[in-house]
Symmetry: C2
Subunit: 158 residues, 2 copies
DNA sequence: CCACATTCGTTCACCTTTCAACTTCTTAGG
DNA sequence: CCTAAGAAGTTGAAAGGTGAACGAATGTGG
């Protein structure tokens, strides 16, 4: 059925790599999400907690957080509202720019983070990191890095 | 801030590989989705078209399609309704099992597929395949395969 | 200074996904 | 047979995501 007419098509090798990549992504998201569920968090929640916990003063501007987590401002706004209702974060006004807001990690958010992180990391190990050798993990990173870089530079173009 | 207490944590190498993987996924989905947009298709649409176009008689049972695309039956049902309204597929009764339905690729769906596929493939090349050497692509597949296998086997457990 | 464009974050309307309930049909056990 | 268990798909309500429009604040060039 497949013909080797020209550039546009993928070789079997390429197609296999590509489909595997797609599949791993989807299944991995599914699994990590599931492992986080008992703690009442989504990956999205978790990622925001990570970002805040690593940020200076445990706070970040909305825009920066949106950029860091690659979401639209709108989506982040909803997300933060939910997390605020859950008590994980709180909004705080920014004095230097009165349009701006900080999202601040609450004590409860921090505590949650500390409690959940080990489980999440274990999950990442179980379903990803520990399934490949350190060399393979190195190759993986090496292969993906230029792609990441390319995609970052593509962000928000035509 | 990081301490090297025990197993649970990730080394810098591991963390870097992991975060890169996450980032590539997200940006790649974003980019491919965007490249498909001018044709009025989502990745989800496209994947269903691919599955159907590769299937015997250009048709698949709902359940099989749901399994193949890793979505819930409910989600697929809504999805197919939308695609049916767009004229890309049609539902057809299954004679051997009167509970069952086939999703069938329409002529218009096939035509759309033929028109769009080259662009999508080009997009995959531009943002993924062509950014790494064949060797690296090989390593990538090799690293991801065991993970895919593991995740497949984990599907729908506790 | 003062318009004007821009940035920040929210909101609204609309679309997609999820989850549980439900109908219909099939299959297996007694 | 007949009933109970289960599978195939759909449905509807609630939750989550998207994109455009908006108000408020800031920055900028004349």
């Amino acid at each position: 059925m497949e013909t080797e007419t020209a550039m546009p098509w993928l070789t079997d090798e390429e197609q296999c790599a590509w489909r595997t990549h797609l599949e791993v992504n989807r299944l991995l998201n599914y699994q990590l999400e599931k492992d986080l569920q008992p703690f009442g968090l989504t990956m999205n929640d978790y990622e925001i907690l990570v970002n805040l916990s690593e940020a200076e003063d445990l706070r970040m501007r909305m825009s920066d957080l949106a950029a860091a987590t690659l979401q639209s401002k709108s989506r982040l706004s909803h997300q933060i509202t939910r997390m605020e209702n859950a008590g994980l974060v709180r909004r705080e006004n920014c004095e230097s720019d009165r349009r701006g807001l900080y999202t601040v990690l609450t004590d409860y958010g921090m505590e949650t983070m500390r409690k959940v992180a080990p489980h999440h990391v274990a999950s990442v190990r179980r379903h990803f990191v520990d399934l490949v050798s350190p060399q393979e993990l190195g190759s993986l990173r090496q292969a993906l890095s230029p792609i990441a870089e390319h995609l970052r530079s593509q962000r928000g173009k035509p």
